[in-house]
Symmetry: C2
Subunit: 123 residues, 2 copies
């Protein structure tokens, strides 16, 4: 593995992980308590299933998300944020704040389920 890194800049490296149109939306969904494939699929932005599969596996590989079984004997895997993944809450927050302040017609509908301290109460 050649370990391709564009530069040592923390901004660039962070963008290499989460700097696309979908990844932070999955983080958002998980922050709001969504855990299953169909729930992510059901978000209003309408992510395609192949993209969803790809992003979930990348997030798991980056240890921002982990798979787990909701029921102990259930064959269906679910996904949730790891502690490292939850450390992205401030990023999510600042993106939401900026959008609300600067983009007309945006509105926060979803509320974070846990770790409420990290996310604003005005959501």
């Amino acid at each position: 593995m050649p370990e391709r890194r564009r530069s040592p800049c923390p901004v660039a490296c962070t963008l290499d992980l989460i700097g696309d149109r979908w990844t932070m939306l999955l983080i958002r969904d998980m922050a709001c308590g969504k855990r299953q494939f169909k729930e992510f699929r059901g978000s209003p932005e309408g992510i395609a299933t192949n993209i969803l599969t790809d992003r979930l596996s990348r997030l798991v590989e980056a240890k921002l998300v982990e798979k787990f079984a909701m029921a102990e004997d259930s064959p269906r895997e679910s996904y949730r944020l790891t502690e490292k993944g939850e450390s992205l809450f401030p990023v999510l927050q600042v993106l939401a704040d900026w959008g609300l302040a600067n983009i007309l017609g945006t509105e926060a509908r979803m509320k974070p389920k846990s770790r409420a301290s990290s996310l604003s109460s005005r959501a």
Copy 2:
């Protein structure tokens, strides 16, 4: 113009503006005082000139960046953040902080030139 918006979510809409691998790097460069095409080109990530042209024009269109003439009689246009563009400093900051805290081997090299209050002093 069909005004394509994926959803009214402020996170999604913000990502539609700045959620790619290059845009925030240009914001970073401008926050550090870079103003000319060649300076953006010279950043270590090595942006291609066609992508650079495209991102600059999108940023200008979104009124996050404005063109201006550095010397009054110079034919060369330069680029700088608008006030709206500078309102992205907290986004830049939180991305940099997260990268520094969570990605091994990243280091902040560039310092913001103005509006230092918005960006950390540890850079």
